[in-house]
Amino acid sequence: MSRRQSYDGVVVTAPFSTPYQRYSTQTAHYWLARALKGTLDAAGLRKDGIDGLSVASFTLFPDSPVGLSQHLGVTLRWLDSIPMGGASGVVALRRAARAVQAGDAEIVACLAGDTNHIDSFRKLLSSFSRFAMDAAYPYGYGGPNSMFALLTDRYMQEYGATREDFGRIAVAQRDNALRNPNALMKKPLSLEDYLEARPISDPIALFDCVMPCAGAEAFLVMSEEEAVKRGLPFARVAGTIERHNAFPDDPIQLRGGWAVDVEDLWSMAGMKPADMDLVQTYDDYPVISMMQFEDLGFCGKGEAPAFLRDRDLTVTGDLPHNTSGGQLSAGQAGAAGGFLGMVEALRQVTRNAGPTQVADAKHALVSGFGMINYDRGLCSGAAILTGESA
Amino acid sequence: MNALTQMATALTSGEIEVVDLTHTLDPDFPVIILPPEFGQCARFRMEEVSAYDHRGPAWKWHNISMSEHTGTHFDAPVHWVSGRDVANGAVDEIPTEAFIGPVCVIDCSEGAAQDDDFELTPEIIDEWEATNGRIPEDTWVLMRTDWSKRRGADYLNMREDGPHSPGPTPEAIRLLVEERGIRGFGTETVGTDAGQGMHYAPPYPAHYILHGNGRYGLQCLTGLDRLPATGAMLICPPLKIRNGTGSPLRVLALVPKGTS
C-alpha cells in the first residue's frame, strides 16, 4: 500500500496538440497561445475560465511565464513554470493536480511549447546548462547526441543490445506516425533504412535522433465535478512518480530515476505493467525507451532488447507504444516533447485518438525524462492515466 | 659683382659643382661598437607617425632617433675628455665660420687597399705637401681611404681583437694640429681614429689631440674620391644642439668644375 494520498477528485481533460512545423518564424508566445486557445476551445472555456497556468518552454526568453500571463491577458491565482524538458508533462500534471485537489486553483491549463527558428537549436544548446557549457560542448559539440551515443555504447557493451533492437523501436514508431496527420515524418521507415542511415555520433545514426521543430501541447486539470458539469471526457490520475538526479554515482547512465520509484508508482495505482493498454515513453533516443521499460518494471535490467524483440509496438500491436509516433517520428517541439506522450495518452484513454486510437484503451503509462545537464538526463517521472469508463 | 654673386653665378653655370659627402641615414648603417658594458651609440631609427591614413589623413611623417654620432657626423671638442674645458666646445657654441672653409684631401686609398690598418704618418703628409704645397692654417684635412665603398661587415671590419680600419698616427695628428694648425680632420671610417687606435699613446690620438686643441672631427664621410687634393670648399654645419658633442649632418663640398 502506498503511503501517498491519491489524486481522487482531480481529472485531466481537453488534450490539444498544434500541428508541428520544422521551422517557424513565430515565437514561443505564439505557439503557447495557440495551444492555450486549443485546450480552452476543447473544453468550451474562455480564457477567464482558468485561474491556474503551468508553462514549460525553452524559447520564451526574455519572458518567464509571468510575462506570458500579461502577454496572453490571463489573470491567475496559481502559476507554475516547469523547466524540466522531457519530464515536464508528468511534473506539470502532478503539481496542477495537487493544486486543484487542495483548492489553490479551480482549473489549471498546462502548456508546453517552443518555436524553432533556423539556428535556434544551436543557440539553445549553447546556453543550456553550466555543466554542459563547461564540460560537454567543448568536446566535439555533439550536444545530447554524443551523450546518448555514449550511454547507448555502454548499454550495448553491458547488455548486448544491437542496433537492430533500437531500430525496431524506431520503425514501429514510424508506423504509428504514418497514422498521425500532425507528425512531421511522413515516409515509411524500414529496419534497413534505419541501419543504413548517416552516422551522427556513433553508434547513434540519423533515425535515433529526434527532429527539432516548433509546436505546442496542452491539457487542462480540474475537479472531476467540473469536468462532469461541462460534459468533458476525462482521465483520472492513478499514480505518479518524480525523481531528480538519481544514482549520481553511476559512472554512466544505464538507469533512470524510475528505478528508485517504480514500486511506489505501481502500488499507488494498484496496478502492474501488464495492465497497461499502451505505454508512452520519452523517446529522445531508443535506448532511453528501453531503459524505461526496464526501470518501470516491464522487464528486468538489461532485458529490454529481448523483451521488445517479442512484442509489436504499433498501435495495433500487443504493446502499443508511442502511438502518435513519439518524438522520433512526430518531432520534438522543444519542451512540448515532454507533453507529447501525456496528451496522446489522454486522447487514447478518453477514446479521442482518432487514427492512432488503440482499441479499448483504458490504462496508459506515460513516462518522462529530461535535462541533459551534463552527461545524463536528470529528471524522470511517470504517471498512469485511467479512462473514466475504467 | 661681389664674391657671393660671382659664386652664385658659378654655381648656376656649373663652374662650381656641389658634391655630397654624406651617407644616407639608414637603420642598418654601422655605428661604432664599444665593449658591451659601455653605453652604446644609438642606431638611426625611424617610426612612422602617420602616412595619409587613420593616424593623419593628409600627411606622412616620422619620428627619428639616433645618437649625435650616428651616420655621417660631426665631432665637437667636448666629445672627448681632452676637450671638456675647451671654450665654445659644444656644437651650439662653435663659431659658425668653422662650418665652411677650405679643404685638403690626402689620398691614402692605395695604401688602405693593401692594409686594413694603414696609417697616415708624417711622412705621407710631407710627401703630400711636396706635391700640393704646405697645408694652410685653419683648413679642413680629409683622409681619403675609399673605405666608404666598403659594405656590411667589411666596414667596421671587426675581428676578435676589435675593428681594423685605417687612421692617423699620433705623430701625424700632432703635426696637423700643432704645426699646421688645421681646423679639423675627417675620415671615411666610423671614427677619426684608426680601428686599432686604442693601442696608440695616447689612445685614440685623433680624438684626443684634435678635441684637446679645440679642433673638430668629421667621420663616415663618403665621396672623397670626387674631391681635388686642394681647392675645394667644405660645408658642414651640425645641428644646433644645446651642449651637443656632435651631430649628424649633411656634408657638402664645393668643387671647381673638372676637378671632381
Partner: protein, 416 residues
Amino acid sequence: MTDPLARPPKKNPQKVQTVPVLPPAFRSRAAMGLTAAAAEGRFKLQHCAECGAVQYPPRDACVSCLGLELLWKDTDPVGELIADTVVHTSPNLYFRRQAPWRCGTVRLNAGPSIFCHVHGDCLKGSDVRLLSRLDRAGQGVLIAIPKETTPNMADDPELRELGADPKHRRVLITDGRQPGAPALAKALLDAGAMTVFVGEGETWRPYPERSALEKMDGVHLMPLDLTDTSSVVELAGEIGGKVDILINNARFMRPGGVLARGDTAFARDEMEVNYLGLMRLAQAFGPGMKARGADGINNAAAWVNILSINAIANDPAYGSFNASQAAALSLAQSLRAELRPGGVKVMTVFCGPTDDDWYQDVPPPKLLPGAVARSVVQGLRDGVEDVWCGDVAKDYAERWRQDPRVLERELAGDMG
C-alpha cells in the same frame, strides 16, 4: 597506432584561406581553474578541502559534503575508458570542420566520470591517462591518451590540435645573435620543423653563433632587427605568410637597477628590444598568424616569448632589465587575447639565469642553451602558456605562488 602525419603539400593558391573558427569558449568561473592548470600542462581537478572528494565538472560546492572550499590539486590522471563515440555532425563550426571527432567517458580512479576528447589509440575498456590541454579557443580541456606510448602518438589529429607541435611547421627564431640560438634551431629541426628562419640584426657586426647556424640544413638566416620597424616589416612582408611558430628569443640586458645606472640609456635599449621589439614583431607578424590559424597541417600555431623568470618578481641586481621583462610579459598577455580568435597560442618560457656573460657573477644553477631549447620544444608539443625552465624558474614560480611579497623581499636580499 596513429598514421604518421604526412608533410603538408604546397598551398593551392586558388583556394580560399580557411577562416579560423574556435571550439566553444565560454566557461564558468570555476571551470577556468581547468584552463589555468592546462596553461601549465598540469592535470588538476577540484578537491574538497573538507572531505577530499574529487569533483567534476568544476563546482562551487562539494558534491559530497557541500564544503565550499574546493582546491585545484594535481590528481591521478588514470582511469578506464568506459564508453566512446565518434561525433560526425555538430552544429558548431569548429567541430563540423574537425569531424569525425572521437570523445568518450573515462571513469577516473580518483572518482568522477569525465567526458573528454579521446586519442585514436585508446582502447575501450582499457586504462587511459588524462591530459589537461588548451584547445584552440585557449580553454582548458581534457584528452584521454593511451597509458603507454604508441607509435606516432603525437600525430593523432586531436592531440595535435591541442598542441603546437613543431613537426612540419615553419619557425622563426627572431635573434640569431643570442647565445642559445643554434641550440634552439637544432632542437626545432630535430623535432621535425620544416624550416627554421633565424633573424639576424646588424649583419655588419660579426657574431660567433653565425657559423653554427649557417651549417644547419633547414636554417635560413634572415635580416631582422627588432629595434628597427622597417626591418621587421620587411621580413614580415617576405615570410610572414609562412611563419607557423614564432619564437622571440631577443634579449637586451645589462646589470643594474635604478639608482646605480644614473641614466635611461640601457633602460631604453632594454625596452626597445624586449618590449617594443615584441610589439613590432606582433604588429608585423601577428595579423598574418591570426589569419592562418586554420591553415591545414602547418597552420599558424604558437607565439613563444623567452623571458626571464624575474618578469614575475624583480631582482634588483638586474632591476631595469627585469622591468622590461615584466613589460614584455604583460604585453604578451594582451597579445594572447588578441591572437586567440585565430586559435594561435602565446607561450612564455620563463628562464632562470642563463649561463652567459650577463649572468657571470650569478651562482649556479644556470641554464644551458640546450635546456632552454628542450623547454621550448616540449612546451610547444604540450601547447602550454607557461613553461618554467630550470630549477631556479620553478623555485621562483613556487615561491611566487606562495607569496609574491615575500619573494620580492627574498630577491632583494632582505632575508637571511
